[in-house]
Symmetry: C2
Subunit: 364 residues, 2 copies
Amino acid sequence: MHSIPVRLPDNPYEIIIAAGSLDLLGERIKSLKIGKKILVVSNPQIFAIYGDTVVNSLQNAGFEVFSHAIPAGEDYKHLESIVHLYDTALENYLERSSALLALGGGVIGDMTGFAAATWLRGINFIQLPTSLLAMVDASIGGKTGVNHPKGKNLIGAFYQPKLVYIDPNVLKTLPEREFRAGMAEVIKYGVIWDEELFLGLEAAEKLDNLANITPELLNSIITRSCQAKVDVVTQDEKEAGLRAILNYGHTIGHAIESLTGYTSVNHGEAVAIGMVAAGRLAVELGLWSQAESDRQNRLIEKTNLPTEIPQGLNIEEIIEALKSDKKVKDGTVRFVLPSGIGRAKEGYTISADKIRNLPIHTKF
Amino acid sequence: MHSIPVRLPDNPYEIIIAAGSLDLLGERIKSLKIGKKILVVSNPQIFAIYGDTVVNSLQNAGFEVFSHAIPAGEDYKHLESIVHLYDTALENYLERSSALLALGGGVIGDMTGFAAATWLRGINFIQLPTSLLAMVDASIGGKTGVNHPKGKNLIGAFYQPKLVYIDPNVLKTLPEREFRAGMAEVIKYGVIWDEELFLGLEAAEKLDNLANITPELLNSIITRSCQAKVDVVTQDEKEAGLRAILNYGHTIGHAIESLTGYTSVNHGEAVAIGMVAAGRLAVELGLWSQAESDRQNRLIEKTNLPTEIPQGLNIEEIIEALKSDKKVKDGTVRFVLPSGIGRAKEGYTISADKIRNLPIHTKF
């Protein structure tokens, strides 16, 4: 078992990482000294696999457990789903001392957190992430929210969980493509923050699916990635500055996601492509060595993540998307760029022309 | 001009009290170093009176100003009104550095604060309260929210403003009955926290409408009441303990409001009746002297606020209402009770029988 303390002044909490520990969840939550009622929020597919274990563990620890299902996927990440969740909270007389527990990936975590932030002006919130992306990224940092018809995550709040509980074994049921999507963020932490993590990934023969990764490496991947995110967000809880480096690969990444309608290219794939592009920019600007940029790109390839912008998209469309995302200001775009393995900085302003000249359809 | 600093560790801000200073608002906000865009949220009646002055002051200080109207009243205090407000925020491209400014009473303040707490995960929020109740109570303490069809303020967040700006002169257009409602909370602060305030109210000949109150007394009423609330909430931002004393008079008060459908008896009137009842309990329990309880009740009478439970309501209905409000637990109700002028304590558990025997339809 590994425990990472998150030392936020007002809301300190722990991230627990322990393989095969799902049935110990109830006892751990008991130590939080919260109220008796817990509402488990999940989607039907995930609840079918892990619901019984989670509910039993909570009940055995003496909790009164309720559950609420939200259909899977980004399509249901809207305010109406939150209203249904409020109704379930009300029907079961949840109090401020009660808890909402998110059992699922990033979408379930974001929505459950937002409902917890806004029901009775804030009730307890517990994260049990079931995807690699949620484990190493979405469940940490306190960002919660839902989409607005006109844009993703426009409605939301910063709200910290009381506990993030990670059992890496649940990744066994995660689709391979989603596993790789999470690995994109893991590689990101290696590039921007943690050279050790990067070296660990380089030492592995394959990274493309869970079966090719030893339990030790998996544990290190999750633990070190969580620690990287914790390091950054505790230094900048409300996104005033440093936290922006977490957006490495996300500038062009977001543009690709939005241009492909958030379907054919998933978040992790878009970030992978965005990191390759940002790495190229850093090399061109003389900030980063070609050799280190190549090492990053080889990790991305070893994970079987894309390195080139999908055929059919051209750079002008990407620049247009950056504009409507308000990332272009006076003809320049702000980028996070690396200057070494484990080192990156926010705030490089790059001209649209420079982006226009990136060889984005070329293999690195 | 009077400035009250609110020393919350994460969100320090100031309450400015300055009669006739509405046109200086823009310059004051400028000193906050926020973004250029401000969305003024109000109801049509209040905006018709003060909208021009506020908007001009903001524009003269260099802000880009937008406005959004919500129909007046509790009936519109729901999530749908917030969704419309989000739409206006989106249409005008508000950014996280922009601000929502609440120009109105408690309902406008609560809703605008909740929208500010949840748009883009939190944007700047400024309170310009126009009712006495909002000035001395609702605008301070960070409680924001809307009603759920099944209960008041069930959906909400704790979210602090960047500034509370009070111009007592705006009370001149406040209906007298609403003025008296605010005075109930003022008397409450005198009883539970501030003997000086209480003595000041006793020294006045009449308190029933603004015309009978000198500018000096009005200034003292607002300043001392704000200070009382600030003292309490800065010691207990998230309502863990002490803050409960602010509920003096509210236990039976809430029951009366709910039984009369939030219409025939307004919040302040219900609190006034609740304070008389709680005072009686305190005297019966030997906590408070009859003489001091009488002094409280004379202030309430001098304000022309009710002291008796409305005819047509009986005590059994009130006990039932306390039950459904979950204020009855194992046959007892928790009360805030005074033990002197300027001194009260939370957590007295009173049996339903004791409440049953209160002479609630008798003049004190």
